[in-house]
């Protein structure tokens, strides 16, 4: 799965940023679309689609899970890799070409290594996400470590054993991160100076153009068009309107603002941490920030239950504090604040990885130049780094918005009574095997996910074009 996402994500990103072929500008943003489909939706659609076909090997085999996960998670690599390719100066590629390298070899020698922090960050995200993915795997009836954790806890109500198993997961996640850091080593990645030209797109012709278009189209079809079409068919068969309109608006609004708020909060914290990593190179800071990102590889259900403890503790402390000042009783457990906390634990890695990779690409000489001009401290961040980070910040918030919108277990468990998101609506239907009834909210979730996707793609295109 990791290898699949890596190849697919990087390959496609390079294709759309370095070449021009029929539909390339369309694919440049359209290939992000599968991100709007939650894995659990993709899973049940693919299952429904292939399950009873006789001419394919059993979709419940490993290839089914792998295909689903690759299709759902490759955009992580794609988004970050494309942004990295776009930020590269074409002069480097031209230098390589003038030294006699062919384009593919120049790609391998120059563009790929330069984009590596972004690509590895994307792949690490994709793999951690896959590690934590409980729903898809169990939908296909497979047994993974994650599923065993859940089973031990839910089936035997043995929280201790489940905790032990969950810590194994954490070790796996940590190993992923260590590998990423180790391969990056102490190298510094220099970026083009401001004003350097962008990559010049090479126009593909004939067979290679057809092949490029076909490759992109196939991925897009499998990863987005087909599933959405299936959802539309199901939704249609249930009668689209069906008196749901009113509850639907509330669902949409609740989903959008909850996820939007979470995206902002997490990005801010992520930025602060990524910045801390840049300013303070001490082991402790590096390690602490590393640890803070590990929640990403932990299944949402485990995070949800795990945050209950601290929340309940805070609740008791808060209760006695509030009693002394005579304010009414409140609960953090089952409040939006509680959900945001859980989101932060779970998704900080998305912000940290993306922003850290972006910050690394800003040369330190730039800080020094700014400081020599009297721009330092907070103004350095505001006037030098933030403008340069705009694309990455946008991309990070986009990822977070879509991520938190799809998030299910923590939202489900920690939400206030009466708050409901689209993901919860989908879950309520699918857990009763009412696939067709789940299609409409699933479709809505995809649509809401599309809005930020489109906004940010336009945003990044403007800043880079």
């Amino acid at each position: 799965m990791g290898a699949g996402s890596l190849l697919l994500g990087t390959g496609l990103a390079w294709l759309v940023s370095a070449y021009r072929f029929p539909g390339s500008s369309l694919f440049a943003w359209a290939l992000v679309l599968p991100l709007a489909l939650p894995a659990y939706v993709m899973g049940f659609v693919l299952l429904g689609f292939f399950e009873f076909s006789a001419w394919l090997p059993d979709v419940r085999g490993w290839w089914g899970v792998t295909l689903t996960m690759t299709l759902v998670y490759y955009p992580y690599v794609f988004v970050l890799a494309r942004a990295a390719f776009q930020e590269q100066a074409s002069s480097l590629m031209e230098a390589a070409r003038s030294l006699g390298r062919s384009r593919p070899r120049a790609f391998l020698a120059v563009a790929l290594p330069l984009a590596r922090p972004a690509i590895v960050a994307g792949a690490a995200l994709a793999m951690m996400e896959a590690l934590a993915d409980l729903g898809t795997v169990s939908l296909f009836g497979h047994r993974t470590l994650t599923e065993t954790v859940y089973r031990t806890w839910a089936g035997m109500f043995d929280r201790i054993a489940a905790t032990q198993l969950a810590s194994l997961l954490l070790v796996g996640a940590f190993a992923l991160l260590v590998i990423e850091r180790a391969t990056r080593g102490a190298r510094h990645f220099l970026n083009r100076p401001r004003g350097g030209r962008q990559l010049v797109n090479v126009t593909l012709e004939g067979g290679s153009a057809v092949a490029a278009t076909a490759a992109c189209a196939a991925v897009l079809a499998l990863g987005f068009v087909l599933p959405v079409a299936q959802l539309v068919v199901w939704a249609w068969s249930r009668g689209l309107a069906a008196g749901m309109a009113q509850t639907f608006t509330t669902l949409l609004i609740d989903t959008a603002w909850l996820a939007g708020g979470a995206a902002i909060v997490i990005t801010l914290v992520g930025l602060a941490l990524a910045y801390a990593r840049r300013l303070d190179r001490s082991r402790l800071t590096q390690l602490a920030t590393e640890f803070s990102a590990m929640g990403y590889a932990v299944p949402g259900a485990v995070i949800a239950v795990g945050t209950l403890g601290p929340l309940a503790f805070a609740d008791r402390a808060l209760a006695s504090a509030l009693r002394t000042i005579g304010v009414g009783d409140v609960l953090l457990t089952g409040s939006v604040a509680g959900i945001l906390f859980a989101y932060l634990v779970r998704f900080l890695a998305v912000a940290l990885q993306g922003l850290d990779a972006a910050l690394v690409r800003i040369p330190r000489s730039m800080d020094e130049a700014a400081q020599s001009l009297g721009v330092a401290g907070r103004r350095l961040l505001g006037r030098v780094h933030l403008p340069m980070l705009r694309g990455s910040l946008g991309a990070t918030m986009l990822l977070l918005w879509v991520e938190t919108m799809k998030e299910l277990p923590a939202t489900l468990l920690l939400r206030p009574i009466g708050l409901k998101t689209l993901a919860i609506e989908i879950w309520e239907r699918t857990s009763e095997s009412l696939w067709e009834e789940a299609a409409l909210p699933a479709l809505a979730l995809v649509l809401v996910g599309l809005i930020p996707l489109l906004v940010v793609t336009r945003l990044t295109r403007r800043t880079s074009g």
Binding site: M156, F157, L308, G334, G418
Partner: protein
């Protein structure tokens, strides 16, 4: 870093706006791990009594954890969930309180409620054998055990053992037959190389599509399928009629240990067990009503009556851990 101070204050104010105020009102707050078909009954309760019903849905395990974490300050009055094993676990974890109610005792048969009155079954579902009406004659079927017969090799569809209803089925088998015999039953199933399918509906669809010939599923899933298409070639067979009877499970509810509106909560449960509410459950979800005076859905009635295993459904909880271990041991995933 003084420049950050205003930001910090904003963050605190922001957080303060996001916590949940805790107020008591005349309402019943239900934590529900059952997500289908209860809405009409809830509405009817509000219409009759003027007491509002608020629902928080979730998976049973996580919901229990939330209840535990909230402790004495929990807003929950009623815990509603599918599966007797779940109810048993909730009671054992101290989340439920005993209720003495002659109404409930009268409406709910003894084997479908907690011997200590901490929870009460509200709907009944039979987990039994489903077969292809095209390829299997009912005379070929008899017990859960007989599905381990070699003649079903490659023809059997099951859900994974981790699935709660299968856990409860296996747990009840352990209670009835003892562990060694149950182990032999599971070994028989596993030897037949069952196709593992997630979702009872999917099992029924697989049988209809000819991917397998027999399977085990909950009764109401077939009823819902038949309601959509009466010609689905899947039949239901009542297992174990010659011995203990077919395995049944319940969805049920109890009043929480720290209920704020205890009286209303009891009234709510009593209403849900009444013929009126039971009728709504039966029509909506196509389960069997727990109250013998209420009638099942016409499709369900058309299957005829059968003998239920009258073992107390609480045994699903007592032997749950044993069931999980046993399934792991014989390699039933």
């Amino acid at each position: 870093m003084t420049p950050w101070l205003p930001a910090l204050l904003v963050a605190v104010a922001f957080t303060a706006a996001l916590v949940s105020p805790l107020v008591a009102a005349d309402e019943v707050v239900v934590y529900s791990a059952r997500h289908y078909g209860q809405e009409p009954a809830f509405e009817a309760f509000t219409n009759q009594t003027g007491i509002a019903v608020k629902v928080l849905t979730g998976d049973a395990g996580p919901l229990f954890e939330r209840l535990k974490a909230e402790g004495g300050r929990s807003p929950a009055d009623v815990l509603l969930t599918v599966d007797a094993g779940n109810l048993w676990n909730a009671a054992r974890a101290g989340l439920l309180s005993p209720v003495t109610s002659t109404t409930l005792a009268g409406n709910v048969p003894a084997h479908l409620r907690d011997p200590e009155n901490k929870w009460f079954g509200l709907t009944v579902r039979a987990r039994t054998i489903m077969y292809s009406t095209k390829k299997v004659a009912p005379a070929e079927l008899s017990t859960y055990e007989a599905l381990g017969d070699p003649k079903w090799k490659g023809r059997l569809c099951l859900r994974s053992s981790g699935y709660i209803y299968n856990q409860s089925l296996v747990a009840t088998l352990i209670k009835r037959h003892g562990e060694p015999r149950t182990e032999a039953i599971l070994k028989g199933w596993v030897a037949n190389d069952p196709k593992l399918i997630q979702g009872d509906t999917k099992i029924l669809e697989a049988i209809a599509a000819g991917q397998c010939d027999v399977g085990i599923a909950n009764s109401y899933y077939l009823a819902r399928l038949l309601a959509k298409d009466p010609n689905v070639p899947v039949g239901i067979f009542w297992a174990n009629q010659q011995i203990h009877g077919t395995h049944v499970n319940v969805s049920g509810a109890g009043v929480t240990a720290h209920a704020r509106n205890r009286a209303s909560a009891i009234r709510f449960l009593e209403f849900l067990s009444s013929v009126e509410a039971q009728q709504m459950f039966a029509t909506q979800s196509m389960e069997f009503p727990v109250n013998p005076k209420a009638e099942a859905h016409p499709i369900v009635r058309s299957w005829g009556s059968f003998r239920q295993d009258d073992i107390n459904v609480a045994s699903a909880g007592e032997f749950q851990a044993a069931a999980t271990r046993l399934s792991d041991r014989v390699g039933y995933r």
